[in-house]
Symmetry: none
Subunit: 249 residues, 2 copies
């Protein structure tokens, strides 16, 4: 009862795949069957299938009905911005424990990331993220003041910060994510319940508005036995992960 027909068809198929109604490896209904079910022509049906194909949910080729390839691959943008959203798409229960939220002068590292002058006020948030109750990630986020101040009116342990800020009119449009590895410092080790010095997967996230104004900078550290990053690529479909080079000291 919402948007265009092809979106409704795609949403329905997504739902049926996520719910297990259409098991992985099984064939989808043929185009003509979908046309009958929806009383639609082939155009919207094919558009819906193309959308799922672009998301890597289904595969298959000419002459064969499409096949369910993977169960959960959601919109990578929101997925990458919102831990809560990502966890729920996976069927897991996200959790969080806010260790501290503070207004203080910006740190040198964040100042460079956010293009701020030294000493400007920002909001720093330190959160422990849980998956089904297990600590898997520690998040050190710095928000620019105009955005971060909104967080003091929000219970950070309850909902998704990303969803909350979106509702407040903050447009998180672009993100840059630098992925590397670090050894756990004592704080990391204690909160993540791992030995000090263990290797952690780190994602440094720069999020900015559509206009390019910096919004937040975050240093997220994952337990590598709990979370990893995956890239799928083929010669045809174009992925967007780049291997970049840091300083070679």
């Amino acid at each position: 009862m919402d948007g265009p027909l092809h979106e409704r068809i795609a949403a329905d198929l997504r739902h049926r795949i996520a719910s297990g109604d259409l098991a992985i490896g099984s064939a989808l209904p043929s185009e003509s069957q979908l046309c009958d079910q929806w009383g639609a022509s082939r155009a919207p049906v094919r558009q819906a299938l193309a959308a799922l194909r672009a998301d890597g949910l289904i595969g298959g080729g000419q002459g064969k009905p499409p096949v369910v390839r993977s169960t959960a691959v959601s919109q990578p943008f929101e997925t990458f911005l919102s831990f809560s959203r990502w966890a729920r798409d996976l069927g897991r229960t996200p959790g969080q424990r806010t260790i501290e939220i503070a207004r203080r002068a910006v740190s040198p590292e964040a100042a460079e990331a956010l293009s701020l002058s030294e000493g400007e006020p920002v909001v720093e948030l330190l959160r422990l993220r849980l998956l089904d109750g297990v600590p898997v990630m520690i998040e050190r986020t710095t928000f620019v003041w105009p955005v971060g101040r909104l967080l003091f009116d929000h219970d950070c342990d309850t909902g998704s910060i990303f969803a909350y800020l979106s509702g407040q009119g903050v447009d998180l449009a672009r993100g840059r994510h630098v992925i590397d590895a670090v050894n756990a410092d004592p704080t990391d080790a204690e909160l993540l319940e791992i030995p000090a010095g263990a290797a952690l997967l780190r994602e440094r996230r720069h999020t900015s508005s559509a206009a390019g104004e910096p919004i937040e900078y975050s240093d997220d550290r994952y337990r590598p036995d709990a979370v990893s990053f995956t890239v799928e690529n083929s010669q045809q479909a174009r992925p967007a992960l780049l291997r970049t080079q840091g300083l070679v000291s």
Copy 2:
């Protein structure tokens, strides 16, 4: 004079964008104009435009003709498969030192990755990769035997293995890359000239042919101060990096 009509239209537009004929920021011909130019209906024209849009080459919205957004879309595929190619694209000099190349029975981990039975012969390659003479990555690759055997006729210290295998008719069409972090073991530490236990960025690479037959499996460990991975994403163009979940023990 090749493939389907929509591919020819897309290829022509790509070419005109790359050549600068259609400058960045300028508007593309409208759909009806393209229909006239090609004597085609709107279906193939729209399919071509959708392809460019998926590549992030063009943007725009309802009511307005599409606008050229970017001129270049890098081919991350080869970049991700070939260390040599990547380094040269960056203007660096790639180097390599082959520590050992051996034919032996497949290890349990590689057996699962390559869908081989235990005990089957494979070719294992251990290489140290250099950037401007500095060790930055250690590569433990397992090739299935039919492919790996070709490597004994090749000087692994000279050229790109990827380029060599491509020339031999091996089609490396699809790749899956799982990125996480590990502590350096004694071998890693010695070869990469870092302390034992240091955090390393690990990429486990599964490469397969277009038909889906496994070709190689590799465990690559990067010095995180030398190499990191970067993702750029925006709400419009859809990137292909996924955050996936491992076992939470």
